[in-house]
Symmetry: C2
Subunit: 250 residues, 2 copies
């Protein structure tokens, strides 16, 4: 059975896109069939694999039921269902349709035998695009930058998920919280991680993603960190995380 | 005349909120009467001044024309028109009203003699809330993290501003681009700044905001960086920026 993961956090710049791509590639390295879906109009996941962001067809057309998702899948290090700026118009276009929250769920039916795992990147908001992702998903992985402003939104994220469980998808749960951009030298980061572990007992992954400029360099080349620096410490962070996520699946 | 600045960049986590607050406080230190408006449903600006984010009335009620903006202004280091999670519902509620893009412009009329400068913090998107800010503004200041993924969206921001100029507010211009979270040790940041200066000649501020954990610590105390570490290098970055922005006003 195809398992669908959503990377979500309405706080901006916490490494949602970076985690979606690198987790997906780590799963592909382990031999799984993997699809990434870019639901962010900024199309950062699409561009991070070297694909242009102004293709005529994208997830916009798929969400509005105009074309099948297979038609916009590009094969890179993993398969990517691409985004474009048009996706920014999807929320308004969808908001008045029947079953507007299930557009993505419907779009995934034709590919459910093609992939083992799907990873969905979302924009920094809890709007209709992210709700669509929650409705189509089994698990949510929440990247959190270990800073005060980035941690405040977690309660709001949980409240939104509760509403999705009650009305749209009773099974969707947070699989875990991933501390990202961790600068182990600062007291602020250590105190933030302690706070996280206290408030979300048992749901914080053991893996920590260290801050390193390598993560900013890799997308310029259109590569994941595994391809950009296969033997580096940064790639290892995401391989370790993939191990933890896979262990939960068994 | 009251001058209105918008801090905008649809890329998440580039220091929009941090720049809005600290620039505003630097203007207040120089003796100007300053108002900050929090248009982000995450209410990070509101919380960064130690105000709770679940007040019964917020910019949500102001945008829908239910109450005057004076009713939700809290006096802190500067005056703050507060946000709350309700603001997340404003885009949908406004989208079907007449003059939906001018809700903020209308709301500011009653306070135009009370303040010299207004600074508006926006969410990481180019939706109706940010369009409202552009319509009410004279100038836009764009914080940019000097990394590839953060710089890509600038063209899209410019295109959106062009549409606002043609249909809603012919005067709104980008005043300048502020390089934020600059880690002068990495080559990636230096190359990114050079790229920025090439593509946006004459519109990149000379001031650079260095990366320092002090910026993550200050909001925990509900303080701007000027209050948290008045004599520090971090505060000086924003005082320098304020000087540059003020020089353009004369
Ligand atoms: N561990 C890390 N160390 C250093 N930089 C990182 C790390 N992870 C991500 N980055 C960089 O930080 C920036 C933000 O990351 P990213 O774009 O993945 O966040 P996001 O949550 O997807 O942002 P948005 O909210 O805009 O979608 C990017 O420039 C990225 O290259
Ligand atoms: N110069 C800096 N050095 C280090 N950290 C910084 C700096 N400026 C801001 N930060 C921290 O980086 C994080 C992101 O900043 P901030 O929340 O201001 O960005 P934003 O663009 O408003 O995010 P969003 O898109 O979610 O609204 C915060 O935790 C903040 O404390
Ligand atoms: Mg992203
Ligand atoms: Mg912000």
């Amino acid at each position: 059975d195809m398992r669908v993961y959503v990377l979500a956090n309405q706080k901006g710049g916490v490494a949602k896109t970076t985690t979606t791509l690198n987790l997906a590639v780590a799963f592909a390295e382990a031999g799984h069939r993997v699809l990434c879906i870019d639901l962010d109009p900024q199309a950062n996941l699409t561009v991070s694999q070297g694909i242009e962001d102004d293709l005529p067809e994208s997830m916009y057309n798929v969400l509005l039921g105009q074309i099948p998702i297979k038609q916009i899948i590009q094969k890179c290090e993993i398969d990517v269902a691409v985004s474009s700026i048009d996706v920014a118009g999807a929320e308004l276009a969808l908001s008045s349709t029947i079953g507007r929250e299930r557009a993505l769920q419907r779009a995934l039916i034709p590919v459910k035998d093609d992939y083992d795992f799907v990873f969905i990147d979302t924009p920094p908001s809890l709007g209709l695009l992210t709700i669509n992702a929650f409705t189509a998903a089994h698990r949510v992985i929440v990247p959190v930058q270990c800073e005060y402003l980035s941690m405040r939104g977690l309660l709001q994220l949980e409240n939104t998920l509760e509403m999705v469980r009650e009305n749209l998808n009773p099974n969707v749960q947070i699989q875990g919280i991933v501390p990202t951009m961790v600068d182990t030298r600062t007291l602020h980061a250590q105190e933030a991680i302690e706070l996280l572990e206290e408030n979300f007992q048992g749901r914080v992954f053991r893996s920590r993603i260290a801050r390193t400029v390598r993560f900013a360099e890799a997308p310029v080349q259109g590569m994941s960190i595994m391809k950009y620096e296969p033997k580096g410490a940064a790639a290892k962070c995401y391989r370790d995380l993939a191990q933890e996520v896979m262990a939960d699946v068994q």
